[in-house]
Symmetry: C2
Subunit: 555 residues, 2 copies
């Protein structure tokens, strides 16, 4: 079988933090059998993706080879690992494997798209394994910021791969399985060909802290406060939500969960058995009746999401609850780069209400779910892999992680999205570059990032939009004068006359001196009107707008 | 003169970090004479101000009272303090006072707008003063991150105000005047009625560090590196630029300044005499000939600005210079909240080139220009003011600073933009709320933030745009069918037919069953077409676009 090769191909997640999607293939070139690890999403922003609802990896490459796909494995239930499963499964149609909590979340996503959930298979933890074509895959429990996170132990004829998923090394994670050094060492024993490893926190030089360290600090804070207390964190960080709730209870407060995602996650944790005891909570309706000094709300929206509970509270009354002077709002979270403006807006809105805002306080009220640099080193050391393949990071994280691996005497492999690497030889080898990209969920439609649709939106936002309409009569002559509408443009410019009228006059003049060749040719006419409109606008307002020309020919 | 009052009214800067503009008034109510302190700008972003070029405070309130304005005082040459002077001076027409370096920068701004620069008066430092109506104003040197920053000592019949401007307490600022405790104590001696004080770093609990502490660290770093070194910082931080240049020279490298702002600032420093010795630099043309290990570039664009030198370098060759594997890029700066995405994009672009990116390294290669909390406390202590009026901060900074003042036993005054406070009584008193806002420079035109122009752009960006055209003939009947163009919308939706055609068909049907009353009424017809177009689009693509309807009546 010297023809067979083991390949690794990231379609997402190796070039960004988010949107994870990794392929492993084994077999003769062009006939490999595949598995997918994770099908995640990332989130749009005004800068690059205005109007877009959700972003996921372009899976065309593997969709075209779906007949050779033997399984989809989801490491954990964060949106950037499971969020796309409902949106793209129809193009893949392979069994989906996940542990109970993750499967619970995935089920809802499949159901929302009317998909048959019988393709979802609940996996038992390592040392149990799932056979998928040439791959034997085990879910190895690992600590992270959501219950039942797993690394994958992927055994292939070419050796063992350990795909860490997102992880930290936490022996007291509050909820879920502690990091089990003995079990991991056992996995490493037969030899690991490649460690495919989380890179998120490679730039954090200090050792990571346990989830259990924040509880006492949060308790101390909450019990010192007088007014209403509201705390926010990621809804999926069930351990943190529990810690916050317990801090509230032990300070003699009634606890209310605000936000659908928050309630759903706690519900999924109980249903799937990862959470046996969660403090009693009250409904928002009941919370209204509780004196504010005896109330603690735990709310969604730690990243400033406009529609989440925290943002709603920052805008005023939400479900009958309202923050006041003397209340306290705690961000038990860290702001993900890019979300700063939204989070700061909320902080200032609360400040205007007289609410004290407490942030993570340099880690006092929050710890990361990812392994810091010293913990990454410990992981390399524990696994003793032949190759280290950094994933889950922007390019700078991957590159730094490769340098770290190299500095520790191992072979680091830099493989950004689309890089197909053979891992079966003595040295890793880039065997192909695959075109990768992003798919946008836009309303009810999936569009490609390169379709030009979002580009046109950005252009209208940056340049404004001008609509020019013209009627050409049966004799191929302009009927009346051109009509101009402006949207998102100043009404008046340098001449202090209405912009639309100035442009109309210029276009009318242009038409008077226009030759028949241009007037009779749709493209030429369109182009000439567009060019003049842009030029006239530029003279008036110092800006060339996007121009749409609509010519109606009565002939 | 018991009728006279001393009032303070921020028009910008008390509710944001940026766009500073503060009014002081003295006299009988409604007849006060005014001075303006600072006329700054802030910068647009895609989230809230797409297409906008620059933002400055709406100065209408004081422009309407320009006959009572006795002077404009600029504390220092940062854009958020001096940037609007050229754009709005025509509406104010009062003398502008600044120290030489600041005046040098302001002169260029006046000249760019064709303004007569003879209204610019160069001020000498305290104890010299300028008389402006009832105000005697002295420029009290203070350390900050740009040369010749000044606090203002504003003497009024109601007592002394110390307006700190932006400041830190730095006794070794590398360039410019060290903080002079003796001089400040002297100013405090006669008693200070109000300290109007920078709030930027009120949340930073540790004592601030001197500019002089970064030099040795930067030198150590630069001399340890092999490839080309590029460093970026704010161009206006002349001390830092000098430190970087000296680090390059002492490591045996030729130094080249990249970016117009960088060269302009050094030039202004030399011209105005604040910088006597700056290391010899070479031109970009000459830099191309220097071996990369002997070259250091100092580039604009520390905040990821798209057109600045750093961003240009991250996109490839710039002025014949190009970074390669083994080169190093140093951010001797901190990312201002909101600029993270742009900065990270640059970091990743360099990473893809194999360039090592070094950030401020938790303060090793950068220090802030603003006073941290302990330094603010020291300032309160030094000045012993009756009132503390926090400025230069978002609402949360102002509020925290008020709490700090109160906790130290003084009277803090929370006065966000538009709050007119009387400072002449025994207690500060809010006497008025003035409508404030923002003015956008949009191409060549100044528009109001509330004009709806930018709102329309955002709507087109988020929802896409649909243009519906319809011709009504001489008999008031539709001529042919409506025509639909889509911009920034998916071409096909649920039915898999062209979106434009689906909407056209629906609109044609609508017209067939439309009564004459609607057909003859422009507004009703417009509204009906718009509603149907939005509904049809929503059915097809799950999104209601912005719709512009153009009806041409041939009658």
């Amino acid at each position: 079988m010297s023809n067979d090769r083991l390949i690794y191909l990231p379609l997402g997640g190796a070039g960004e933090i988010g949107m994870n999607c990794y392929l492993y293939g084994y077999g003769p070139e062009g006939q490999e059998r595949f598995i997918i690890v994770d099908l995640g999403v990332t989130f749009p922003n005004m800068d690059t993706t205005p109007g877009v609802d959700l972003i996921f990896p372009d899976i065309s490459w593997i969709a075209e080879r779906a007949d050779r796909l033997d399984g989809i494995f989801i490491t954990h239930a964060h949106e950037d690992h499971v969020g796309a499963v409902g949106h793209v499964w129809n193009r893949l149609r392979a069994p989906v494997h996940a542990r109970p909590f993750t499967a619970n979340i995935a089920t809802r996503k499949m159901e929302e798209h009317g998909l048959d959930t019988s393709v979802l298979h609940i996996a038992k933890p390592w040392p149990e394994t799932v056979q998928a074509g040439p791959f034997s895959v085990g879910f190895l429990p690992v600590s992270h910021s959501i219950p039942e996170s797993s690394a994958l132990v992927i055994d292939t004829p070419a050796g063992r791969i350990v795909h860490t998923g997102d992880f930290k090394i936490d022996t007291a994670p509050v909820v879920g399985e502690p990091f089990d050094h003995a079990q991991w060492s056992e996995v490493a024993k037969p030899g690991v060909r490649a460690l495919v490893c989380d890179s998120t926190n490679v730039f954090s030089g200090h050792p990571g802290r346990s989830e259990s360290t924040v509880g006492p600090e949060i308790s101390k804070l909450v019990s010192s406060l007088d007014g209403m207390v509201v705390a926010t964190t990621f809804a999926s960080n069930v351990a943190r939500v529990k810690t916050l709730a317990e801090a509230g209870i032990s300070a003699g407060r009634s606890v209310c969960l605000l936000g659908r995602a928050m309630r759903r996650m706690v519900e999924a944790s109980v249903q799937s058995g990862v959470l046996s005891e969660f403090p009693a909570t009250i409904s928002p309706e009941d919370a209204r009746e509780v004196p504010r000094e005896s109330l603690m709300l735990i709310a969604t929206g730690s990243q400033g999401e406009r529609r989440a509970a925290s943002a709603q509270l920052s805008r005023g009354k939400h479900l009958g609850l309202k923050l006041n002077d003397g209340d306290t709002f705690l961000f038990s979270s860290k702001t993900i780069p890019g979300n700063e403006r939204d989070v700061i807006n909320i902080m200032n809105a609360f400040s205007e209400m007289g609410v004290d805002v407490v942030d993570d306080n340099e880690g006092r009220y929050h710890v990361s779910g990812h392994a810091n640099r010293p913990d990454l080193e410990a992981m390399h050391e524990m696994m003793q892999p032949q190759f280290v393949v950094p994933m889950h990071g922007e390019h700078r994280h991957l590159r730094e992680h490769v340098k770290l691996a190299d500095s520790l005497g191992r072979t680091g492999v830099l493989a950004p999205n689309g890089t197909c690497v053979s891992l079966s030889g003595n040295e890793p080898k880039v065997v192909d570059y695959v075109e990768t990209g992003r798919t946008y969920l836009d309303g009810a439609v999936q569009i490609g990032a390169m379709d030009g649709i979002v580009r046109d939106r950005i252009r209208m936002a940056v340049n404004g939009h001008m609509v020019v309409t013209l009627i050409i009569d049966e004799d191929d002559a302009p009927l009346g004068e051109p009509w101009v509408e402006v949207i998102g443009l100043p009404e008046k410019g340098r001449s202090n006359a209405a912009l639309a009228e100035v442009v109309e006059a210029d276009l009318a003049q242009l038409l008077q001196r226009m030759d028949d060749k241009t007037l009779l040719d749709d493209d030429k006419l369109d182009d000439a009107l567009k060019r003049q409109a842009r030029q006239s606008a530029n003279d008036e307002i110092g800006r060339k707008p996007e121009v749409t020309v609509v010519v109606s020919r009565l002939s």
